[in-house]
């Protein structure tokens, strides 16, 4: 606790002309509960002004204050020798070797995207980019993790195409390559799409800067775009459920992005940081000036005093309340060193941007706001940021979901149907099918560093001037988490790690995005608690600490919650770029080897969703020790250069994963001849989604060595068959069944699925 605690707010601040009176209704409209409001009264020692109430409302929203998740999040592992900056800053930072550090973070823009998909998604990318470059790192890659309802709905197609354009246009314009991500379609996301964006930035260790305000008298400057009325109370909006009315009435709370200004801001910010003229910089993101200023004061143990009439605004007649809570995009709050204002102005002018001194750092620990010299808000900074009430709630599993998990699935597993037909149906399902339609709208090669583009298991960015690269992936199967939250969250971490290992990267750390429903409901809080627990166990087992992330709760429409979706954004390091491994088969005649074993669960699988319209059953179990040994074994094989390809098994099971290896990007497909003698029903063998499995290919002369390395690590491994020319087709035998198709049919089903859906109809938001 700082010395500032002793300071008290001004005992009397006269109400501003025109501001509403503070009534119980006004307090409730600001999303504060009675007990929370009592806490405000205790901190203030008097009734807050309307402006002060707005500030508390934003800072104590779930989005800024994490009030329903903070206690759970505190149980996550956050430390490792390579972690330079853990949770609490704009982004996490890890050491990646050769003097380089990697800043990375994931963030959600679910609510805005549900209302205005293009701008909602675009500003989501804009926000996460700013979180990275305010650490002093240059953004080098973006990933996007998206979820929508089923594509047979016109509105879903409208949301999907709008979000993809928004993600693409923003990143394309800035010139940051998109290197991967994921997308899922399931009716569980019908009303509430999930739009999470992750960004990676590279810097030298000594370029790191943090967002804290220190040095009494230091000028505080608003930099970049002007402040308007857009996005006022966005943070509070993001912390409520959506309803049918949200579309129209919430539009004003969605911000509008200007990537061109952001590009200038990026260059100007990096130049400001390297100039040494500033001591702190923070994005004015959620809750705008309010959160950036109070958080910087809170971290610096200092106070802040700002004059609202000095803030450059783009609309006349804005009140202090509106200026403080605006979420206009492409703005930064900068703390300059005393006397360096002119240098800040010089740099900003070069980039054709504005900067204005709007206040100064004080030593009294107060967050004080003036209008024409008159105090309109006077709040102790530390209680505002750290005093947000936190809750541990009751969590109880939903009986309905439990029943789904325990459902008897045997009637859906009877062979009898044509397995080849089921297979084509499955790989033509948008969840399994090629996502080229999406990432062909994203610039993936700008900055000339993308060694593995989207479509692989992980994206890879080489670090110029070194022999190293960083890899990144985002993963989560919401169905698994829905059916069994703890296992599902573990599975998300395990899959992310496998995806990294498949390109040859050692998993290093994660950022997470917890997308859940309303935590005030016991069954949702149960999902949140269990998922965090599962994530914690898996992160500990893999030594991939959590360095930050984002919480998005209240993802419900008309009372219907999304699947609990704790998205894992994991990063890894590759020491030698010449050993980067890829997913497609490389050569006819190579052996195909399966590492790991099918544990026989088919619950929550894409097969059940596609063929029986079911999300039910026990999701595949996760063996953390087994996963860890599998990771080690595969990394060893890649290091010893005995593999020609590697690919994780996930949605659509073994058969789909094999097809993906054979197809590659479609330009030079292979065929295959393989068989697998497992004591399982054919559909479970072919389409079950057991974790802990990787398909590798290798020169037949290396197969013994591959099996030997697997053996040393106690990883089950067996040769499945041979890579053939495409003309030979795809032939996969299992006990009591076979999938036999031409590669042309497979390619058509796989590559044409999403384009056929998206190119045939025009859709609107109506």
């Amino acid at each position: 606790m700082s010395q500032a605690d002793g300071n008290a707010p001004a005992t009397s601040v006269p109400p501003r002309d025109g501001d509403p009176e503070i009534t119980a209704e006004v307090v409730a409209d600001h999303g504060l509960s009675e007990s929370e409001y009592e806490k405000v009264l205790a901190i203030m020692g008097r009734t807050p002004t309307f402006t002060e109430l707005g500030v508390f409302s934003a800072m104590w929203s779930e989005h800024c204050g994490y009030k329903n998740s903070k206690r759970l999040l505190s149980t996550l592992p956050t430390k490792a020798p390579w972690v330079i900056q853990g949770p609490g800053e704009n982004a996490g930072v890890i050491d990646v070797g050769d003097g380089y550090a990697l800043a990375f973070k994931i963030e959600s823009h679910n609510h805005p995207s549900a209302v205005e998909p293009y701008q909602g998604a675009a500003t989501g990318v804009g926000g996460i980019l700013r979180d990275i470059f305010t650490m002093g790192a240059r953004p080098v890659a973006v990933l996007d993790s998206l979820r929508f309802g089923d594509l047979d709905s016109g509105r879903v197609r409208y949301l999907f195409s709008g979000v993809v354009s928004g993600v693409g246009d923003y990143g394309n314009c800035i010139g940051v390559p998109n290197i991967g991500g994921e997308v899922a379609f399931d009716r569980g996301y019908e009303g509430n799409p999930i739009v999470n964006a992750m960004c990676l930035g590279l810097m030298k260790h000594d370029e790191l800067i943090t967002a804290s305000a220190s040095g009494t008298g230091s000028p505080i400057m608003a930099v970049g775009a002007r402040t308007g009325r857009d996005g006022i109370h966005g943070a509070t909006f993001a912390s409520e459920e959506l309803s049918e009315d949200s579309d129209e009435s919430s539009r004003p709370q969605v911000q509008v992005g200007d990537p061109f200004t952001e590009k200038l801001l990026l260059e100007a910010s990096l130049e400001l940081i390297s100039s040494g003229a500033i001591s702190g910089i923070q994005d004015m993101g959620a809750a705008g000036i309010t959160s950036s200023a109070s958080e910087m004061a809170g971290r610096g143990g200092s106070g802040i005093e700002m004059e609202m009439t000095d803030v450059p605004i783009r609309e006349v007649g804005m009140t202090p309340y509106e200026i403080l809570l605006s979420e206009s995009q492409e703005r930064m709050l900068v703390v300059a060193h005393v006397g360096q204002e002119a240098e800040v102005h010089r740099i900003l002018e070069k980039w054709e941007l504005e900067a204005a001194v709007i206040g100064r750092v004080t030593d009294d620990g107060m967050f004080r706001v003036m209008e024409n010299g008159k105090v309109v808000a006077d709040i102790p900074a530390l209680p505002l940021t750290d005093g947000c009430p936190t809750y541990e709630r009751e969590g109880v599993e939903s009986a309905e979901i439990k029943a789904l998990r325990e459902m008897d699935l045997s009637e859906h597993l009877i062979p009898g149907g044509d397995l080849s037909k089921s297979f084509l149906l499955l790989i033509g399902s948008p969840n399994v099918a090629s996502k080229q339609w999406i990432y062909h709208q994203y610039d993936t090669t700008v900055r000339t560093a993308t060694a593995v583009r989207p479509g692989g298991d992980s994206g890879v960015i080489r670090i110029r001037g070194t022999n190293r690269a960083v890899a990144a992936t985002t993963d989560c199967n919401g169905r698994f988490v829905y059916l069994e939250p703890r296992t599902g969250a573990m599975a998300a971490v395990a899959e992310a790690a496998r995806n990294l290992v498949c390109v040859g990267a050692t998993p290093t750390a994660i950022t997470n995005n917890l997308n859940f429903g309303n935590p005030l409901k016991a069954h949702i809080y149960y999902q949140l608690r269990e998922a965090v627990q599962g994530m914690s166990e898996a992160c500990s087992a893999f030594e991939t600490p959590v360095t930050g992330g984002n919480v998005s709760l209240f993802n419900e429409t008309d009372g219907q919650a999304i699947y609990p979706t704790p998205v894992i954004g994991m990063v890894g390091v590759i020491d030698d770029v010449s050993k980067i491994m890829r997913q497609p088969f490389q050569k006819a005649g190579d052996d195909i080897v399966l590492l790991g074993v099918n544990t026989g669960e088919i619950g929550g699988s894409e097969y059940l969703y596609v063929t029986a319209d079911l999300v039910a059953g026990v999701p595949p179990s996760v063996d953390l020790d087994g996963e860890r040994m599998l990771q080690r074994a595969v990394l060893k094989m890649i290091d010893q250069e005995v593999l020609n390809s590697a690919h994780d098994c996930s949605e659509g099971g073994l058969a789909s994963a094999l097809a993906e290896c054979a197809l590659g990007n479609g330009e030079e497909p292979f065929g295959l001849e393989a068989s697998l003698d497992e004591d399982l029903r054919p559909v479970v063998s072919l389409f079950g989604e057991s974790h802990g499995r990787i398909i590798a290919s290798c020169d037949p002369a290396k197969t013994d060595e591959v099996l030997r390395i697997a053996g040393i690590h106690a990883v089950p491994a067996k040769r499945l068959g041979t890579v053939c020319e495409a003309e030979s087709g795809f032939s996969l035998n299992v006990r009591d069944g076979v999938v036999s198709c031409s590669m042309t049919d497979i390619a058509r089903a796989y590559f044409d699925a999403i384009p056929n859906i998206m190119n045939t109809s025009s859709d609107s938001g109506a």
């Binding site: 990537p259 590009k263 062909h440 709208q441 700008v446």
Partner: protein, 231 residues
């Protein structure tokens, strides 16, 4: 050889172009769009990106930048000028190349590798290629659909000013191989003097095996060998 890489507000391939020039032994310098004077340079490159956010029209605002008052006479005096992607759009807007680049016919941004056929090699920008050679080069643009009136297209064809065309795996300029609807599958053209080249694909992104292709190197080495050596 001294090469100016002009940076406009919103350029984002300037760094990639700088590195490509360096890789083939050139001596690149970033020139900010508000600077003036290009007389000390042997060649001028206009990089890709979104100058001025592509607001109004791609390249429409950048072509009014102060530096363009020097680029135009530099080009008219026979100085080599290469515009890639947004640079191509700016060259068309500035009237240094004929025609215009309009929205892709698929109405979406298009980002993937394409195959280009080298249509002629007796030019400053393609002398290190062989005629008919096919190149794998990435594209990344929303407005790369090359359009011109019939007479202009006729002139471009008869004067042999189409240097690169989009082709399929068999080397044919088919509709399927055309990523954006460009007339005559045009990917890159020169001015009448042959000293100004505009192209939508990004050869500067095809300089290393690690990143997927080395087919762009030839363009930069061609330029280098056609220009005065470093002093």
């Amino acid at each position: 050889m001294k090469v100016a890489v002009v940076t406009f507000p919103g350029s984002n391939c300037d760094y990639d172009l700088y590195k490509a020039v360096q890789q083939v032994g050139g001596d690149p310098t970033f020139v900010w769009h508000r600077e003036r004077g290009l007389s000390e340079y042997d060649a001028v490159l206009l990089p890709g990106g979104f100058s001025y956010g592509d607001y109004l029209r791609a390249g429409a605002i950048a072509r009014m930048s102060p530096i363009m008052e020097d680029v135009v006479p530099f080009a008219n005096a026979g100085g080599p000028v290469l515009g890639i992607c947004n640079g191509f759009q700016i060259l068309c807007e500035a009237g240094l190349l004929p025609g215009a680049l309009v929205r892709n016919d698929i109405l979406r941004f298009a980002s993937h590798d394409v195959i280009l056929r080298v249509e002629r090699t007796d030019t400053l920008f393609a002398s290190d290629y062989t005629a008919g050679q096919t190149l794998r080069i990435p594209i990344a643009h929303g407005e790369g659909n090359y359009e011109a009136d019939r007479a202009t297209l006729e002139v471009l064809e008869t004067q042999g000013r189409i240097i690169f065309r989009y082709v399929d795996a068999q080397g044919e300029p088919s509709d399927d191989a055309n990523p954006n609807g460009s007339w005559h599958n045009i990917a890159g053209i020169t001015n009448e003097g042959g000293n100004v080249l505009g192209m939508m694909p990004h050869p500067e992104r095809a300089m290393e095996e690690l990143l997927g292709s080395t087919d762009g190197i030839g363009l930069f080495t061609s330029m280098m060998s056609g220009l005065p050596a470093a002093t």
